[in-house]
């Protein structure tokens, strides 16, 4: 790609990633959540791949790490949903609304689900981008 797209992707990549993390973490107070935040985070990597190619993207985040992260996140999500009762008994929901520490167990669900959506979309994108290279 030309220098305009490469410079814009280099500048925008951490900002888009940070915005995705913000949407995931604030999923219980503001609109958004796991699917939208994970899609935004995966879109940052898609933009980076379109500008720099798949080989330089894999120096940022290897595909083997993505696979391990997705499997671990799926296991943790199943454990969280199965033992959600004990988690809510341990966490007392605070009454301060509109703050980051308001939803008792929702933040864990949002973070783990966001990682799962992010890695799932990224795995699909890596596979498609690598099959184009052969």
């Amino acid at each position: 790609m030309n220098v305009i797209i490469r410079t814009a992707a280099r500048v925008m990549f951490p900002l888009i990633l940070l915005y995705g993390i913000y949407v995931v973490v604030h999923g219980h107070t503001t609109p958004g959540g796991t699917f939208s935040g994970g899609s935004i985070m995966a879109g940052a990597f898609v933009l980076f791949t379109l500008a720099y190619g798949i080989r330089k993207t894999e120096t940022e985040l290897k595909e083997s790490i993505v696979e391990v992260l997705k499997s671990v996140a799926g296991f943790v999500l199943i454990m969280l949903i199965l033992f959600e009762f004990f988690l809510r008994a341990a966490l007392v929901p605070t009454e301060s609304l509109f703050s980051l520490w308001s939803g008792s167990s929702l933040m864990f669900f949002n973070i783990v689900g966001g990682i799962m959506v992010f890695t799932g979309l990224l795995m699909v994108w890596y596979t498609v981008a690598k099959s184009d290279e052969d």
């Binding site: 999923g27 219980h28 107070t29 503001t30 609109p31 958004g32 959540g33 997705k70 799926g74 999500l77 199943i78 949903i81 959600e84 929901p93 605070t94 009454e95 301060s96 609304l97 509109f98 308001s102 939803g103 008792s104 167990s105 929702l106 669900f109 949002n110 689900g113 799962m116 959506v117 890695t119 799932g120 979309l121 795995m123 699909v124 596979t127 498609v128 690598k130 099959s131």
Partner: protein, 114 residues
Amino acid sequence: MNQKVKLSIGLACIIIISGYMVFSVTSPGFNEWPGKEIASFFITEGWKELAATNTVTTIVWEFRGYDTLGEETILFTSAMGIFALGFGLFSVERISGMKQASGEAQEKPQEASK
């Protein structure tokens, strides 16, 4: 098929489907569905359950958490399927039995896929 026949069939489909939708919405008893009380419970009392202001997230992860687990399983399975297809863990040709047909029939699907 003639162009006018296609156009008339499309128009008829649009009229029938939109007419059915308008009829079903305006028919008596449309707004009386079972479980209407639980919807008002979600709106008025749902945020007190976890002290979270985003009611959609509360419903998605709290009141129907097992459904969301199924959604994540669907995402996981589709990603695994695309991963397996892309890295040749199984091939479409071997499953459909196209590889056994030798000669020209073998080359045609490969050309079409590329």
